[in-house]
């Protein structure tokens, strides 16, 4: 996508970015990250190695600048040329599929969450690098382990670079005006709050339309907080359960308290409604908060906003899955050692910490030690994103990660189950049965 940037440009950008990082985050100078002294795996870099990699486009410019600067530094130290292409989010899955099937193209792709599990046969194992990094930086967080390792196996096939999630965001003053300090953790309490918000004229709004991110996020939360799930640990489709029916009944009660039209919402609708002060409570990624904060016209809304982890309901921890950046190295690469060395280099403190800080909270770390990075001390309202990868929930919980997991969310199966019950188009029992039929169809080849 942005391959028109020459190496020289990248270096220049990198230098300026390094300057920004140094001045913008002075804590970098005396990093608080602890790194254990662990011997690094031996990865003799192949002679004449060059690397090509794809990764999703940035949230913030500094992300790209620091990433390119880090890559340029790697080139300088090892002599391995690295060409980094930034690809649109919608395109990265297709490009990964083509790369994997044709056995040609980039050596490394940073894809999303489940990608390494789909193309596992075509990937180089990364266990040595992952073990080293895990020991050196306080261990991999639960979500990173889930997405990085093969199911029920210690073998690493992906190296997570960070995750982003969609917790609740609410208007503090409006919640206080109806008698709440924060959103209750139990379902009855949430329903009560939403009813009061609706009476106050500033209702809640959660996407029940075909919105890949927000819609699936809400549907998954409603299920998991009732201890319902799409799959059991063996990968059997268990969506048609009494827990699911309970979740559906709860959403059926909740839906009338929402602002009108959430069944036609897409991923930006809740951002707009929140920014226009039409709603007082929704769930979204940190981007909403930043866009409000950075615009003088809406700064007051940002100041009055708070984030909160998705309420637990019946679950033990907040049931919130994060979209994860997951790096993989393809077997067709001529230089697997160089590729592994590059990924390892990028996750080392000197490179990863400036990059994490440059992302100002959009991505949160997969390795425990990076929790001390200065980015999490900058804005108290962003701090809660620090624990994104501490979650034990993931897309397709609680089963093994597979192609079908992604297909179910891309086909909006769970969202439509909730939407059809909420609008009264189907009974909870019928909707759960239909979701089961459709999910089983997607999962029919996974076992």
């Amino acid at each position: 996508m942005r391959n028109d940037i020459t190496r020289r440009d990248a270096l220049a950008l990198g230098l300026s970015a390094a300057a920004i990082a140094a001045t913008g985050a002075p804590a970098n100078a005396q990093s608080a990250i602890k790194a254990a002294d662990v011997p690094a795996p031996k990865l003799p870099i192949e002679k004449g190695a060059t690397l090509r990699m794809l990764r999703p486009v940035r949230f913030v410019q500094a992300d790209e600048d620091v990433f390119r600067a880090n890559a340029a530094k790697f080139t300088k130290e090892t002599g391995v040329e690295v060409k980094v292409d930034f690809v649109g989010w919608e395109d990265i899955n297709q490009q990964t599929a083509v790369t994997s099937n044709s056995g040609a193209g980039p050596d490394i792709i940073i894809g999303f969450s489940d990608a390494p599990h789909i193309y596992v046969d075509k990937l180089v194992e990364l266990t040595d690098v992952a073990d080293y990094l895990g020991k050196r930086y306080g261990g991999w967080l639960p979500l990173a382990q889930r997405y990085g390792k093969k199911n029920k196996s210690p073998t690493w096939i992906g190296l997570p670079f960070g995750a982003t999630a969609g917790p609740l965001i609410y208007r503090k003053s409006i919640l206080q005006s109806v008698g709440f300090d924060k959103v209750p953790e139990d379902h009855a309490g949430i329903l009560d709050l939403c009813r009061k918000l609706q009476k106050a004229g500033k209702p809640a709004g959660f996407a029940l339309g075909n919105a890949k991110g927000d819609g699936n996020g809400f549907a998954s939360w409603a299920l998991w907080s009732h201890n319902a799930a799409l799959l059991d640990e063996e990968g059997n489709v268990v969506i048609n359960s009494k827990e699911t029916i309970a979740a559906l009944n709860w959403v059926k009660q909740l839906y009338p308290t929402f602002i009108a039209g959430t069944t036609s919402w897409n991923d930006v609708s809740n951002n707009r409604a929140y920014a226009a002060q039409e709603i007082a409570l929704t769930a979204n990624g940190v981007s909403l908060y930043f866009s409000l904060k950075n615009d003088p016209a809406t700064k007051a809304i940002a100041d009055d906003s708070e984030h909160q982890l998705l309420p637990k309901g019946l679950a033990k921890v907040s049931p919130m899955a994060g979209l994860t950046l997951n790096a993989m190295v393809f077997k067709h690469s001529q230089y697997p050692n160089a590729a592994k060395a590059f990924l390892q280099y990028m996750l080392e403190k000197d490179q990863y910490e400036p990059w994490l800080n440059a992302n100002s909270g959009y991505w949160s770390q997969p390795l425990a030690a990076y929790g001390e990075a200065s980015v999490w001390a900058q804005d108290p309202k962003v701090k809660l994103f620090k624990d994104t990868m501490n979650s034990t929930y993931y897309d397709g919980y609680a089963g093994p990660i597979s192609t079908a997991t992604g297909a179910v969310s891309a086909d909006y199966v769970l969202i439509q189950m909730f939407a059809s019950v909420a609008t009264g188009a189907a009974t909870p029992e019928a909707a759960a049965a239909e979701a089961e039929q459709r999910s089983k169809r997607y999962f029919r080849r996974q076992k």
Binding site: Q94, A97, S100, N101, I118, Y119, L208, G209, N210, I259, A260, G261, T262, T263, S264, W265, N266, S269, R272, A273, A276, E278, T403, G406, A407, A410, D411, Y412, Q416, A419, S420, T423, A425, A426, E434, Q437, R438, R441, Y442, R445
Partner: protein, 318 residues
Amino acid sequence: MSVTTLSSPVLAQRQPSWLVRLFDYKPFLIVMCLAPAIGLLAVFLTYPLGLGIWLAFTDTTIGRKGVYVGLENFQYLLTDSLWWNAVFYSVVYTAIATFGKFALGFWLALLLNNHFPLKSLLRAIILMPWIVPTVLSALAFWWIYDPQFSIISYLLVDVLHWRTTNIDFLGSPWPARFSLIAANIWRGIPFVAISLLAGLQTISPSLYEAAMLDGATAWQRFRYITFPMMMPILAIVMTFSIIFTFTDFQLVYAITRGGPGNSTHLLATLAFQRGIAGGELGEGAAIAVSMIPFLVFATLFSYFGLARRKWQQGENND
């Protein structure tokens, strides 16, 4: 006689080279002239179509080669209520939208066929909805139908105070379905109007003059001159319109993505949803292939129902 007297250099000049003779050879010329067209058709039409039909009989997914599974995809679709929903809505969508487009388009064409100032300019402006890329107009409609920021709701609630709440265009099945049909009609009218206008202008004014001399009313002139004379072009335009409407994708995908709760999926959007987003290429292809019988039927219907009248060959309509 004169040929034999020509000197040999002149003869050599006159004698065409083998290349010229080759190009004068008719069968060769035909093959050469047709090859590019056939090549293009084969590469860009036959191959994708053939591949699509083949995929419908396999269980291919994105990222995985499939195997031949016979009619399994189609058997599944018959048990899939969402496919039946999509069939139902595709038919409803096509029927109502086509009717609306023809009623309004024909009317518009009749209006445009009159003499009035700035005629050419107005005719050009009428084409606007058709010229604007569908995705752009779909986005405009998406804003018009937005549950929170709709211009229509704004006018009715905040300006005119006729309502107290916003209109929820896309939040429940039937309003969403009709909202999409309205958008499709808006977009399709210019095509119908301009095509029919072209047809109207081929009708000889002498027919109307003769009818007026006989004392025919405006309605009678329409019913017995305009309408019958327009039949052939109506048939063609309707065939095209039905095909365009039945295979519509962009409007629905940009505005509702098939929501709320799958109620507005057309076969084309469902095929994309399953095949590309869901990754089940085989099933998506099967849904796309399942459109073919409907299209063939619609085409045959409008062709035979409207166009095969004897008067087209100059005979009586008995």
